[in-house]
Amino acid sequence: MDAIIAGIGQTEFSKNSGRSRLQLAVEAARAAISDAGLTPADIDGSVTFTHDENDESAVLTNLGIPRLRFSSRTPGGGGGSCATIQHAASAVVSGQASAVLVWRAFNERSESRFGQPTQGALDPAWSFHLPFGLDTPAKIYGLTFQRYMHRYGLTNADFGEYTVVARQYAATNPNAWFYERPITIEDHQASRWIVEPLLRLLDCCQESDGGVALVVTSADRARDLPQPAARIAAASSMYLRGGHHLFNYHHPDLSTFVEAESLAGELWAQSGYGPSDMDVAMIYENFSPVVFMQLEALGFCGPGEARDLIASGGIGPGGRIPVNTNGGLLGEGYIHGMNNIVEGVRQLRGTAPNQVAGAGRVLVSAGCSGLVLDRP
């Protein structure tokens, strides 16, 4: 039995939602359940992030779901975002649940900002980098990006080529915060340093308020539902010894994204596809360099070739492998990666703002978790 994504829903993506994160979760969930052609009474499972601050009981009560017989949470922050769908699909395929609601909702700009230095201050595991001013995700990831730049001789302007493409897609996506606001490489180079010599402000994802939800159910059931199904052809999540949810400093060679390499092996083996079979790739980018490192780890190009792939238009509209067609987390909004999964579903339905004609297979990667979606 296959599992499918039957419904998608979201709130607007903003900088100040003006309402509680619980309300955002409820609004996104209602939209997804309705989109799936279901009612709250049909939902019997839930998955969200360990980081999500909405309690399952509060969500189900406010949605009017009578009971959940399965609930799960995924580790790893945004890198683990695709694991939510893996958990939901596993529950459906094993019979533990028949329709699983997946959500992520927060006020990540107006309430608790991930990019603030004191985030993690009470965690002993963070104490081996926070006191040294390595105190935001951009900086924490920076020590890895530096080795990638060093190995292949890249500059910050090379990373900026990705941002230009992301903002180009966002400019024609009415759902994007940066709708109708494209940038040039000169704009990128004029933005201030966050982590020198790697990341400027425009290399960093947004901070956003909003909610995203999806409904996962079985392919058998999908035949009676209103929307075209997105079949989950592969789903995996990957954690390696020595790692931390924000870094893996203790792997011998930091110029490669080892979790994503391992993930790629799982996704291609499970789905029977390879990189050249994909029509669209949605790639989690809290910061621009992770697109480069994931393109290589996932096999879309060889080691060190992402710069040329991106600079030659290979990931833009009409390119060899369009990437982050919603504008990604830099251009559309940062809902911890979940909005990239929704965009993958839209591409398969043929309803994306920047639709890739005839898209039938989509890769969604968050680096430490990923999906291959296709049409059943």
Binding site: P117, T118, A121, L122, D123, P124, A125, W126, S127, F128, H129, L130, P131, F132, G133, L134, D135, K139, G142, L143, T144, Q146, R147, H150, R192, W193, I194, V195, E196, P197, L198, R241, G242, Y249, H250, L254
Partner: protein
């Protein structure tokens, strides 16, 4: 220079006690002799729960580095953060002091020293003569 003080638990207490005493302590498994850092209760190689804290000479080379802008508070003076490969065989994050940014490179030889920053005792690195 503002600093976020370390949060200390039972697994990491020995390390920060060592810093206060001017020693860089690294865990060594008493069974298979594997070194590990950051601290943890069990050896990833053999699973042994017994370990001893061993003093490191603190000599190594820069494996990676960044210049952190706005460290800890907005508009604070940028700080060089280094990921150091210690000769003992473990990696460690700290600041590099006394080296102009233009002279910071991967493979720069460094050595540990200890200083108080914002009232917090911390290990730091400086250039090592070779």
């Amino acid at each position: 220079m503002a600093v976020i003080p370390p949060a200390i638990d039972r697994d990491s207490q020995f390390f920060w006690d060592g810093v206060r005493a001017g020693q860089l302590l690294v865990q060594r498994c008493t069974d298979c002799a594997e070194l590990r850092h950051p601290p943890g209760p069990a050896c990833p190689e053999c699973g042994c729960l017994a370990w001893k804290a061993e003093q490191s000479a603190g000599c190594g080379t820069v494996y990676s580095w960044v210049l952190s802008h706005h460290p800890t508070e907005a508009d604070a003076e940028p700080r060089v953060v280094v990921l150091v490969d210690l000769e003992d065989g473990v990696r460690m994050v700290a600041n590099l002091l006394g080296v102009p940014v233009a002279e910071v490179t991967n493979d720069l030889p460094v050595e540990v020293f200890f200083t108080e920053v914002d009232g917090v005792p911390l290990p730091m690195f400086r250039r090592r003569a070779v």
